[in-house]
């Protein structure tokens, strides 16, 4: 008996070790990029000044202000938002059993854009708020609305996984069309604002928004991790899941709501940042497989890493301009993605 157990343990640990090593490496990479991020920016401080600003000593008040009020929130936002988008994408791909899914599938990002557009162009919001919060709040609420619509649709017994995806596509079209209508009616100024918003930017994320996003991220990810075995079962097939005692339809609905909540929080604060939610889980799947405990964690770390790099690039690429981060994720994402597709194709051929 103990021979059998030790054999089992050997196999299990050899499976896990690779994943744990990956986690450690990624953590190191993230810390490195975080540090680089704190050093990158157009204000030129020496290493000594930057370090003393970090520990809140040193006389250079300007350095302290810039490091703590500008660079730190942006660097941390890159880490948290990257992780959030990656985890959201991870679960979308899991429950839809579609490696092409992203947190924005099913109309979530277009709902957020519509909410923002309504607030920017018509100054109209679902709930009466004033000032600049109107854009964030409205975009969030619209996403939740879309999630609610999806939820109601999914409750219908005959809604299969495919019809859910189709419904999401329909929602996408609807929201995009309405947003375009608003763009047509918009004044020049509103149009510019809306365009800026859609690019996605970490510079809009202050400490308050960061706290909210972090809170939601921790809450949602913890729930996912708690259900990691059920989610692993969902990756096999609906019938297998049922034969293991899971109700796949109900689980799917609940996960979609959680994904929508996390995506809504991110998109309404920072705009639509694409690619991370698609690419990070992909890479994680290749490295670590779909066993959810590690799939989720490694996806999150890869997402943080990608967005951190993107944020550094956005500051460093063209002097004097902070490029929109959504642009950066595409620039990094596309070649990486192509590489993945080709190597995957070679393997499967």
């Amino acid at each position: 008996m103990s021979n059998q157990l030790s054999q089992a343990k050997d196999i299990y640990t050899s499976l896990i070790n690779k994943k744990i090593t990956t986690i450690v490496i990624l953590l190191c990479l993230i810390i490195i990029t975080l540090i680089i991020n704190l050093f990158a920016g157009s204000a030129d401080f020496g290493i000594k000044e930057t370090l003393s600003a970090l520990v809140m000593r040193g006389e250079n008040d300007l350095a302290k202000f810039i490091i703590w009020k500008l660079r730190m929130p942006m660097a941390l936002a890159a880490i948290v938002i990257g992780a959030a988008l990656a985890v959201a994408g991870c679960e979308m791909q899991t429950i839809l059993r579609n490696p092409m899914a992203s947190p924005y599938t099913l109309g979530i990002s277009s709902a957020a854009s519509l909410g923002a557009a309504l607030a920017i162009v018509l100054k109209v919001s679902l709930i009466p708020v004033a000032g600049h919060i109107i854009v964030t709040a409205n975009s969030f609420l619209f996403t939740i609305l879309a999630a609610g619509a999806l939820n109601m649709f999914a409750k219908n017994k005959s809604a299969s996984r495919n019809s859910l995806i189709l419904f999401g596509i329909a929602l996408n079209f609807l929201f995009s069309a309405l947003t375009q209508l608003l763009q047509y009616l918009a004044s020049e100024e509103s149009l510019q604002t809306l365009t800026f918003w859609s690019f996605g930017s970490l510079t809009r994320v202050d400490w308050t928004k960061l706290a909210i996003i972090s809170g939601v991220f921790i809450f949602v990810t913890a729930l996912f991790l708690k259900n990691s075995w059920k989610l692993t079962a969902m990756t096999t097939s609906d019938e297998t899941a049922m034969s293991l005692g899971i109700d796949p339809k109900s689980l799917r609905r609940r996960i979609i709501l959680l994904v929508a909540l996390m995506s809504a929080t991110v998109v309404s604060s920072a705009g639509t940042i694409g690619f991370v939610g698609l690419v990070a889980p992909h890479i994680s799947r290749i490295i670590a497989g779909e066993e959810q405990r590690f799939f989720i964690i490694i996806s999150a770390l890869i997402g943080s890493f990608i967005l951190s790099i993107a944020s550094i690039l956005s500051k460093v690429l063209i002097k004097g301009i902070i490029l929109p981060i959504g642009l950066m994720t595409s620039i990094i994402g596309v070649p990486f993605f192509t590489y993945l597709i080709f190597s995957g194709a070679r393997r499967n051929a």
Binding site: F39, F65, I66, K69, G131, H132, D206, I286, L313, F336
Partner: protein, 403 residues
């Protein structure tokens, strides 16, 4: 599998290395402490009377003092005078600011924002003030480089935007507020006939050039008063149409009705046909345009500072293309060559009086028979501006050939 894994990792490590190198790369040098470059004799287009008043003012104002002003959005701003390091948001603002402030402004600027069409202003002003070519940029609105702004340690940030900016970019405003950088909002676009003067009043206070500022304000107010006096209140008004030059042969662009050029046309006594067809900055219905058959058409394009040939490209792309639109050959304005182009952005500048006058003279030649708008413009340049009338191309009439 191991191979992919290794490959992935090395890729990631390489990226990380590249990034650490990139961000350690040398940054651009900080702006040198502003050095007063020698000002050539040609640049002092300042009439004697004004020159004298500057001299007296400057002598008094080197001691430090704090004042609080209210900017054009109603914000109270605390400033420490004299202002020695100032960031301004637009190159084109130099026109509107140098008029009430004087040469001081060019010495005080330490950083400047980017905007569309800025190269023309950049060329014009660096021609007269070469040191301006080294001015660091703070980026475009919407993506201002906050770190750069902060590291320039300005005494004030003069912004050519209004409340809209505060609404759209609250995080910029709050960050700069927190860092203690005074922002003075001086939008020139609110009212073409009074905004430059209102801004001038505040500029006069903060630069301590009140006398010059008042002269400037009176000058403009008088011009507008004259125009208003002479434009007949009753009687038939010529029908006029405005379109921005950003369209194409197939695409109609914006028609201004109750802002900018729309207001200017109305002040000059024109009957804007767009008023009955679209809202401000809407696109006119082509059929309605053809039906209305306006007497004068104004297509505001990208001209202004720079050699005439440079402006012609923009004019050809706007006026040149528009007149080829379906049905435009039937318009009497086109047949009579009463199609004109002015520099679009000048609708929010101190030169509005010239355009208003020019239009008024076209609409009511008898009432304005003794007014020569070109001469008026030239005098304005000589009196208040630090660029020259000859530095740019201000008015184009359809059919005009350049020498």
């Amino acid at each position: 599998m191991r191979k992919t894994f290794k490959g992935l990792l090395s890729f990631l490590l390489v990226i990380t290395l590249i990034l650490s190198l990139a961000s350690c790369a040398k940054k651009e040098p900080e702006i040198k402490d502003t050095v007063k470059e020698s000002i050539t004799a040609e640049e002092t287009g300042v009439k004697d009377a004004v020159e004298e008043s500057i001299a007296t003012e400057e002598a008094e104002d080197t001691e430090k003092k704090n004042i609080t002003i209210v900017d054009l959005t109603g914000r109270e701003v605390e400033l420490e005078l004299p202002l020695e390091r100032v960031i301004i948001s637009h190159w084109e603002s130099l026109e509107a600011y140098s008029a009430p402030v004087g040469e001081k402004i060019f010495d005080s600027v330490v950083g400047i924002g980017e905007s569309g069409g800025m190269e023309r202003y950049q060329n014009a002003y660096t021609k007269h003030f070469p040191h301006l070519s080294e001015l660091p940029s703070i980026g475009m609105v919407g993506s201002y480089d906050l770190e750069k702004i902060l590291s320039l340690e300005p005494d004030a940030f003069l912004i050519n935007f209004g409340e809209g900016f505060i609404e759209r970019f609250p995080e910029v405003v709050s960050t700069l507020d927190e860092a203690g950088i005074p922002m003075v909002f001086l939008p020139l676009s609110d009212d073409p006939f009074t905004s430059p003067q209102k801004a001038a009043k505040i500029l006069g206070e903060i630069y301590q050039t009140n006398e010059r500022a008042d002269e400037f304000i009176n000058y403009l107010d008088n011009k507008f008063a004259l125009i208003e006096e002479r434009v007949p209140e009753d009687g038939e008004k010529p029908k006029v149409y405005h379109e921005a030059g950003s369209g194409s042969r197939d695409e109609y662009s914006m028609s201004f009705t109750n802002s900018g050029w729309g207001l200017i046309m109305a002040f000059a006594g024109g009957d804007n046909i767009s008023v009955n067809n679209v809202n401000d900055k809407g696109r006119i219905d082509p059929e309605y345009l053809l039906e209305s058959d306006p007497d004068f058409i104004f297509i505001t394009s990208g001209m202004g500072y720079g050699p005439a040939e440079a402006s012609m490209e923009s004019i050809n792309n706007s006026v040149g293309e528009y007149v080829l639109r379906t049905g435009w050959d039937r318009l009497k304005a086109v047949q009579n060559n009463d199609v004109y182009s002015y520099y679009h952005n000048h609708q929010r500048s101190p030169l509005v009086f010239y355009y208003t006058m020019d239009m008024a003279k076209m609409f009511y030649p008898e009432e304005f028979s003794d007014i020569d708008p070109e001469a008026e413009l030239k005098e304005f340049f000589d009196t208040f501006l630090y660029t020259d009338y000859e530095d740019g191309f201000w008015k184009y009439k359809l059919g005009e050939k350049l020498e």
